[in-house]
Amino acid sequence: DAGVTQSPTHLIKTRGQQVTLRCSPKSGHDTVSWYQQALGQGPQFIFQYYEEEERQRGNFPDRFSGHQFPNYSSELNVNALLLGDSALYLCASLPSGSYYEQYFGPGTRLTVT
């Protein structure tokens, strides 16, 4: 049973560019959350997707957007990249009806230069 997978593993972008990160949830999970983990910090909630809609959003600007596909996989898009967007981006999934236990992927390390 595959766990949560994310791609790519690492990414280097330049300020002002746009980036798309991808996540496939654990089998049987239909809800996906995205988190940003800056160096030396705990993960911070960006948003959560369920039934292809954004269900909840953290305190992140509109430059951060997402999408969920019918197969429950998800994308995180960040526009107009800033140096401060450099971080590990984590995807977590959970089954519908379970508001509690989230399973995390390995993350995508984004470096903005």
């Binding site: 766990g3 949560v4 809800t31 959350s33 988190y35 030396g40 910090q41 705990g42 993960p43 911070q44 909630f45 959560q48 269900r55 909840q56 953290g58 984590l90 977590a92 959970l94 508001y99 509690y100 236990e101 989230q102 399973y103 995390f104 992927g105 390995p106 993350g107």
Partner: protein, 114 residues
């Protein structure tokens, strides 16, 4: 605003020493509490969780945590650490009914000397 505080940034212990990592949260309502662990080069894994009931919860690898509601605390403990426990530990909370939005502390890095 909800927040989680982890008291220690970096803890260094020798093998067989006892471990206690502090975690306090700020939230007035009913919460669910979690400890996650991140081993070097690996993804976040759930150590243990508290939803309701017995405030002393046991997790994997001999870890346990105690929820003290009056102190808004959820401290992690292990009687005897091993070198393989070297990792970063994160305390997290979500409000009951918050649909999974986890609020994490900044983490505590544990280094265990063999």
């Amino acid at each position: 605003a909800q927040s989680v505080s982890q008291h220690n940034h970096h803890v260094i212990l020798s093998e067989a020493a006892s471990l206690e990592l502090g975690c306090n949260y700020s939230y007035g309502g009913t919460v669910n509490l979690f400890w996650y662990v991140q081993y070097p080069g690996q993804h976040l894994q759930l150590l243990l969780k508290y939803f309701s009931g017995d405030p002393l919860v046991k997790g994997i690898k001999g870890f346990e945590a105690e929820f003290i509601k009056s102190k808004f605390s959820f401290n992690l403990r292990k009687p005897s650490v091993q070198w393989s426990d070297t990792a970063e530990y994160f305390c997290a909370v979500n409000a009951a009914g918050s649909q999974g939005n986890l609020i994490f502390g900044k983490g505590t890095k544990l280094s265990v000397k063999p």
